[in-house]
Assembly symmetry: C2
Homo-oligomer: 179 residues x 2
């Protein structure tokens, strides 16, 4: 089992932290191996931001993501840039408040109004990355709810634990509302 995951959005939306949390959830709480990475070139300036995670039962020998199984896109620019890297039969979760993706047979598109829901429930978008991550985990089942919560708590600065747990619940319920 080797799964390649890419989180994408704009700089400042916290996609790196979200992918670090996913990697630690898999490695620390589910006995998997994980590599989390971001590569930047000069073209990264002002553009779309991405962060990759590879989760595997075995130590990860080749740490570069090339054939993405699961993707998250929080901005249209990120979707336009990275969606071609999603493999056939893959799945992409998009924030339908900001992203639209044409229907296709190549991969599955899951649309959730992540930003507006986060804003409605929390009055700000600080934890958008955690809401997105939690919805993503609910859709993909890459790690358990329990492992995700432990990893979010571990990453949360002191005093923000409740706020971040609330964000986890918002994302989970949003994804469950699909079914």
């Amino acid at each position: 089992m080797r799964k390649e995951i890419r989180f994408s959005g704009s700089g400042g939306q916290g996609v790196i932290l979200a992918s670090v949390i996913l990697g630690t959830a898999a490695a620390l709480y589910e006995n998997k191996h994980a590599v989390q990475s971001q590569s930047y070139g000069p073209e990264a300036r002002g553009g779309a931001s991405k962060a990759d995670v590879i989760i595997s039962d075995e130590p990860v020998k080749y740490p570069k993501a090339r054939n993405i199984d699961f993707m998250l896109c929080l901005t249209q620019k990120a979707a336009d840039k990275y969606l071609p890297d999603l493999k056939e039969g893959g799945l992409v979760l998009i924030d339908s408040d900001y992203v639209d993706v044409p229907e296709t047979d190549k991969y599955k598109v899951v649309k959730l109004p992540i930003s507006s829901t986060t804003y409605d429930k929390q009055g700000k978008l600080i934890a958008l990355n955690i809401v997105s991550l939690s919805a993503f985990v609910e859709v993909t089942k890459l790690v358990s709810e329990d492992s995700l919560e432990k990893a979010v708590l571990q990453a949360a600065p002191k005093g923000t634990e409740d706020f971040n747990m609330e964000a986890v619940k918002i994302g989970r319920e949003l994804a469950k509302s699909l079914k």
Copy 2:
């Protein structure tokens, strides 16, 4: 030019964020290519934490660090675990408040009292990773002072800019005091 850098310490010391900032400083403000990554296995639980950056003039083809040029060690456990990966002729910066490393001809050891200096100047250790990063950059000259400051500002949450710029200055002056 390809340089491999490893930041190591304990979980919660912010070595991942420090290495993300170094990678963005090189890629966004110095026209280099950079890959930042962390790999975790089940053995990561409770142990030493590491984060790698590769900086290159060319796109980074092989993103795994194997032959570290420059290392930062904030804890003894991290030094014991990762120092064997430092290449001959490399350089390690250690927090001499917590880490000791035997003298050797194999690589250069730079010792700075990072924790105690940070605590003396700021009354807390929240920005220890930024102080360490700044001292590291002053010692290694991997990126310019200006690029570092821009990348730190970009990563700093709103309202913490001054505090983080202060941390940059503390680290830089500490490293300069060596000379």
